[in-house]
Symmetry: C2
Subunit: 240 residues, 2 copies
DNA sequence: TTGCTTTTTTGGTCATACCAAACGAAACCA
DNA sequence: TGGTTTCGTTTGGTATGACCAAAAAAGCAA
């Protein structure tokens, strides 16, 4: 896959690219500590002997890569990249993809696919404390049935537990990305205590299947849950 | 998930951000056709009534988002974003993640997880022509056993077919991202016709399980295949 | 028409200047 | 003394203008 954020195979001759690499290295080595502000642009100028134009371009590139977090009039903050940053970097493009025909469906199907595998694996490998955590999330979800806003949060939290079971830091990041990208469409879904109760029971089915170590039942329950949910949101889109 | 490439919730007041949105809109509407070069910077200046500083910053931002492809001294090319672009945007960060301890392992485990689910689903839902395509890829793989370079290509192609079966355009993009990210570490793996033959048989096992509609066998075969492969590459890393 | 040479265009970089917001320290008030 | 206000300084955002080198276009020669 071509890396378009740092183009030109034949030795990127842009001064900014060189600066980006140098700053990247300093971040990687901890020379520029995580959470600390980047040196002022005018300092970087003399540090690296380049013009402010180049410095600003490099900082912008770093920001787009998630290595620094730059707010309008503030010093950029150094951010040691995490898995969330990787997915956040895709954020801009994903916005366009979701706007395209079938974009939401494609992404949602991907989520269903991923999560179905997740519960299957959970049913096989979840530890006791994982199942306990799932139970706690389920109870919280049940308690929130009357309050749709709270139910939405506990709903997400319940699914989040599923992503934590494999103990792979990539997974929770994927979950956060899914929810962040789908949330804008999701909030349009009509909600009510009755609907919440139905969804809670779906969650309960998933939980019990995992607790009972039944991968097929877990996968089936999750598919039923998410496919049903899709029927409720598809109405918020124009084309099928 | 915070979108750090377009920071500052309270109405991004940067002129460049505004320009980015305007150009994004023109790309989305097709006003700026896919594959066509972006207007010269000096034209954009008068088009939008901003300075060249802002224009260049906006173009850089678009490039990092994958909406334009800019090579050093060439006019940026407009690129209607696809799923590949989304993953390519994460490319820069992923490079750092892979360099971190356990980074490759985490990503590779994610791939195994994903692909295991893939073959399971393939065993259940693959159509006849899917299976035929898989067979063709398998045959090509077998024919390439003596040539390690060709075997590597056909190996990837075989797995690629798996990602195409669900007919979700996100999946092939994920596959390309996986291979692109893992390739640098992968090529270090010692290769030989003997090893190739073993891997071919693993592929053959996967194919037969899918053809025989046996999800469990397919998943088991794939896990065996990829886990064995991991043992061969883990040696190329320092820490376990 | 083909191929080479010369303009013109255009992106990359630098230097400078100004503004407004953020910062920081001194001055001030309670 | 402790918190608040004030004001000069720092710093990022933007605008100009200029120069270079490479690319593209135009012109010219074979």
């Amino acid at each position: 896959m071509p890396d378009q954020s740092a183009p030109s195979r034949p030795g990127s001759q842009r001064a900014a690219d060189s600066l980006v690499r140098q700053i990247e290295a300093r971040i990687a080595t901890g020379d520029l500590a995580d959470g600390a502000p980047l040196p002022p642009e005018r300092d970087l100028i003399e540090m690296f002997g380049v013009s402010r134009t180049v410095v600003r371009e490099a900082v912008a590139a770093l920001a787009s890569r998630g290595l620094v977090e730059s707010r309008p009039r503030f010093r950029p903050i150094v951010r040691r990249p995490g898995y969330d940053a990787a997915l956040a970097a895709a954020d801009g493009v994903v916005g366009h993809l979701l706007a395209q025909s079938g974009g939401v469906k494609n992404l949602y199907d991907t989520r269903i696919f991923f999560e179905a595998s997740l519960v299957r694996q959970a049913a096989r490998q979840a530890r006791k404390d994982d199942i306990e955590a799932l139970k706690r999330a389920l109870d919280a979800n049940e308690a929130a049935i009357p309050d749709s806003a709270a139910f939405y949060r506990t709903d997400i939290a319940f699914h989040a537990v599923l992503y934590e079971i494999p103990k792979n830091p990539v997974f929770p990041a994927i979950h956060r990305a899914f929810t962040a990208w789908l949330a804008p469409h999701w909030v349009k879904m009509p909600r009510s205590p009755e609907r919440n109760r139905v969804n809670f029971h779906r969650h309960s089915d998933i939980y019990h299947a995992i607790r009972d170590r039944d991968p097929d039942a877990a996968e089936a329950a999750l598919n039923a849950h998410l496919n049903a949910a899709w029927e409720y949101v598809r109405g918020t889109f124009e084309a099928i």
